[in-house]
Amino acid sequence: MRLIRLWPENSHFDFMRFRRFSFPLSAVISIATAIMLMTVGLNFGIDFTGGTLMEIQAKSGQANVAQIRQTAEGFGFGDVEVQEFGTAGEVSLRFPTQPGGEAGQAMVVQKARDTFGAEYDFRRVETVGPRVSGELVQSGTIGVVLSVLAVLFYLWFRFERELAVASIIGTLHDIVLTIGFFVITRHEFNMTSIAAILTIVGYSLNETVVVFDRTRELMRRYKTMPTEELLNLSINHTMSRTIMTAATTALSLLALVLFGGQAIQGFAQVMLYGVVICTYSAICISSPMLIYIGLRGSETVKVPEGKAAAAE
């Protein structure tokens, strides 16, 4: 049986060349993201804005969106977002936070149930009061900041300074581009999105660590090899693994996008995008970054504990 060969043996492909395109490209996208974040902003979900979200499904299988919109706007609960999704007459309604503190929100649900209850099933009802949404914003922000700090700490502990700096740049790059994805696609940004970003942080780091582990090993073997060549060799050596892992992860996520159902699709799409971005940044951002940072700045090379143990 002939097995698939994902990457040729003994390849000497010049990956570092890509930096002429990837650096400007990523810089432009990052700046564009920053500008759009400030002008257009994220499409925050009720986790962060507060308010009420309802998903209803027509008992007949046919939803009359126009009528729902008209009726819901007549409630006087402010701007209602009404959207049809799926195929079986499912409609989502989103109401903004009502005045009157925590108690004011309950009226929205009551009114909607009374009005639409006869013809529609209420599949999901979520109300987040202003207090809780404020706290969720806080814990979401803390989460992302904390994870970056934890990553910094780990890298500082585990790698030489140059490698650590390059991989943290890569990770930040991936966070920025993921946020860009949210801004451009208008995907709802909620607590699950924070989970997706943290997972992407983990995956991003994973990708760079695998390449840099190899870089470090090759540094010890070829003491005089120029940085650019060394990095190219590291990526060529790890390329089959990179393709393989990206492929299996992407395939799993693809299964989730296609079959996981509407409730988890958003998360899966972001993750799928994240896998692509992380793979790209490990090869085209973090690694070539070392050419500029300088790889052999520090004379002494730390011997990692794991390697020492494994060599016995």
């Binding site: 503190g101 989970a195 780091l205």
Partner: protein
């Protein structure tokens, strides 16, 4: 060495077998599980039988999640009223008059007693009001619940301390949990989960509940019932309270409370035999019956005020002394309202108002669809990865695939033992894990390929591949673990479910992708004695 001792093989297999066995109860339906637990002979010790199962999150089984917060302002108001009553009583007992009555100030009350001799008599009694706070966790904190400040011009301020209020809130949460449990149990709801969250919140989760309206109605009422008298003209000590079904009209009610909800021994919803109206029948304890009997005898012909949560729900005229200790509340109630009222009265009053700060309800249909979609995605992802691994690594891919299946089984096993909650993001976590779990195998295999290409023999190449890839495996899993652990501590509900799956997945990878795979490859090598690498 590619040799595994028999004992090592047996230990590894035993650990995996037990791990997989633990997942068995989670694969059964509730009925099957009960049948199977009953079928186990009684001489088998119970700890030997895997009985714990994964709990499905509300987003998968459908149900309501309601987060309530103790209304601190309401609690403080109540405390200030009590403090005011205490101060009034002490002033009366010591026959001291305050110059301008008892004034309510920020978080307390103030009186003015210019006469030093009066103050001398008064102060010791007032100081008795300040109780040290006993905290179950911290023990004696040295803080008092009330601070007393005296100024030279004779003003005395009694204010509730922060420590005192915090302690009150903490106790209010504990009491609320008890009251909520009684109220929900009284409605016959199955398996509600009621727990404290943070300093001032209670999380109520009720599986299967589709419309939490009734639940919210039950939780929204404090349930503080008082029997008082409607005030007659000229009375001074009165509250103006709204009257139910009177269009916001307020009526004067005497402050004096004849009997209260705590004096009730029973309350039942019923129908009035004459008017066929829904009513609530109640019965007092001895103390309540005595006081109620005396009050109704003395005030024949006057109107009683039945006050629930500061609203007069009914004001019947006392037509004859009620000395038997039982009575009824009637008004224009619906059947559901009297049912709720009876439950409220039976289960006692909440120590403070609770506000709903978050509510999430998932209908059973959506939950079922999510489970089906999740299963489908898991199978498809599994098949994708299995085919891909086999097509790339042949026999080694097959070995990795066996390890992958064991890996997913072990995640379920561990989740069962921990009785962890499986949520929809948790399913996403499992699917994602399927993709990332093979990463360790890929790292090892690619390394073996390189080592053999560099001139090593197969045995030595396999050996070196495992050893050299190990450091990278540890690195790559630690990086994923960092993100997962942070997520676990920050997330709640569904997101936390994702973190749990991810952390367990990382833990089991080491056992399956490294130990189990290595063992299978060693056995394969001993059996086949290949001359070239099969991939």
């Amino acid at each position: 060495m590619l040799r595994f001792s028999k004992s090592k093989i047996i230990t590894t297999l035993a650990v995996i077998f037990i791990g997989l066995l633990l997942a068995v109860p989670s694969m059964m339906s509730r009925e099957q599980r009960e049948a199977y637990l009953n079928a186990v002979p009684s001489w088998v010790p119970s700890w030997l039988v895997p009985s714990r199962a994964i709990v499905l999150g509300l987003d998968l089984q459908g149900g309501s999640h309601v987060l309530l917060q103790v209304d601190e302002a309401d609690l403080v108001r109540g405390q200030i009223t009590l403090l005011r009553d205490d101060v009034r009583r002490i002033l009366r007992d010591t026959r001291v008059a305050s110059q301008n009555g008892i004034q309510t100030i920020q978080r307390g009350v103030q009186i003015r007693v210019p006469n030093a001799a009066d103050r001398e008599r008064l102060m010791p009694r007032l100081r008795e009001l300040a109780q040290p706070i006993n905290n179950a966790v911290l023990g004696q904190t040295g803080n008092a619940n009330i601070a007393i400040n005296e100024t030279p011009d004779g003003a005395i301020a009694l204010t509730l301390t922060d420590a005192g209020i915090n302690e009150r809130v903490r106790r209010a949460v504990d009491q609320s949990i008890e009251v909520i449990r009684r109220r929900i149990d009284a409605t016959g709801t199955v398996e509600p989960s009621i727990q404290r969250q943070g300093a001032d919140r209670v999380l109520v989760q009720v599986p299967g509940l589709q419309d939490p309206q009734q639940l919210k109605a039950l939780l929204g009422e404090t349930g503080n019932l008082e029997f008082r008298l409607l005030a007659q003209g000229g009375a001074t000590d009165v509250d103006m309270l709204p009257m139910r079904d009177a269009g916001g009209q307020r009526v004067p009610v005497e402050r004096r409370v004849i009997a209260e909800g705590g004096d009730l021994t029973d309350a039942q919803a019923a129908f009035d035999t004459q008017t066929n109206q829904p009513i609530v029948n109640f019965r007092f304890n001895i103390r309540g019956a005595q006081r109620f009997g005396q009050a109704t005898t003395e005030n024949l012909g006057r109107q009683l005020a039945i006050v629930l949560d500061n609203e007069v729900i009914s004001a019947p005229t006392i037509q004859s002394p009620i000395t038997g200790g039982s009575g009824q509340i009637s008004g224009s109630f619906t059947v559901e309202q009297v049912n709720n009222l009876a439950v409220l009265l039976r289960s006692g009053a909440l120590p403070a108002k609770l506000t709903i700060v978050e509510e999430r309800t998932v209908g059973p249909g959506l939950g079922r669809d999510s489970i089906e979609a999740g299963k489908m995605a898991t199978y498809v992802a599994g098949i994708f990865v299995i085919i891909f691994m086999f097509a790339t690594y042949g026999v080694f891919g097959l070995i990795a695939n066996i390890a992958l299946i064991v890996h997913v089984g072990l995640i379920f096993g561990l989740m069962s033992v921990l009785e962890a909650t499986l949520t929809l993001p948790g399913i996403a976590g499992i699917v994602l894990t399927i993709g990332t779990a093979v990463d360790s195998n890929v790292l090892i295999y690619e390394r073996i390929r390189e080592e053999v290409r560099a001139g090593r023999s197969i045995v030595s190449g396999i050996q070196a591949g495992f050893d050299r890839a190990f450091a990278t495996i540890v690195d790559s899993n630690s990086t994923m673990a960092i993100a997962a652990v942070i997520l676990f501590f920050l997330g709640s509900g569904p997101v936390r479910g994702f973190a749990v799956v991810f952390i367990l997945g990382i833990l089991t990878t080491v056992l399956t992708a490294v130990t189990l795979t290595r063992m299978m490859i060693a056995l394969w090598y001993q059996w086949m004695r290949p001359k070239v690498l099969p991939f």
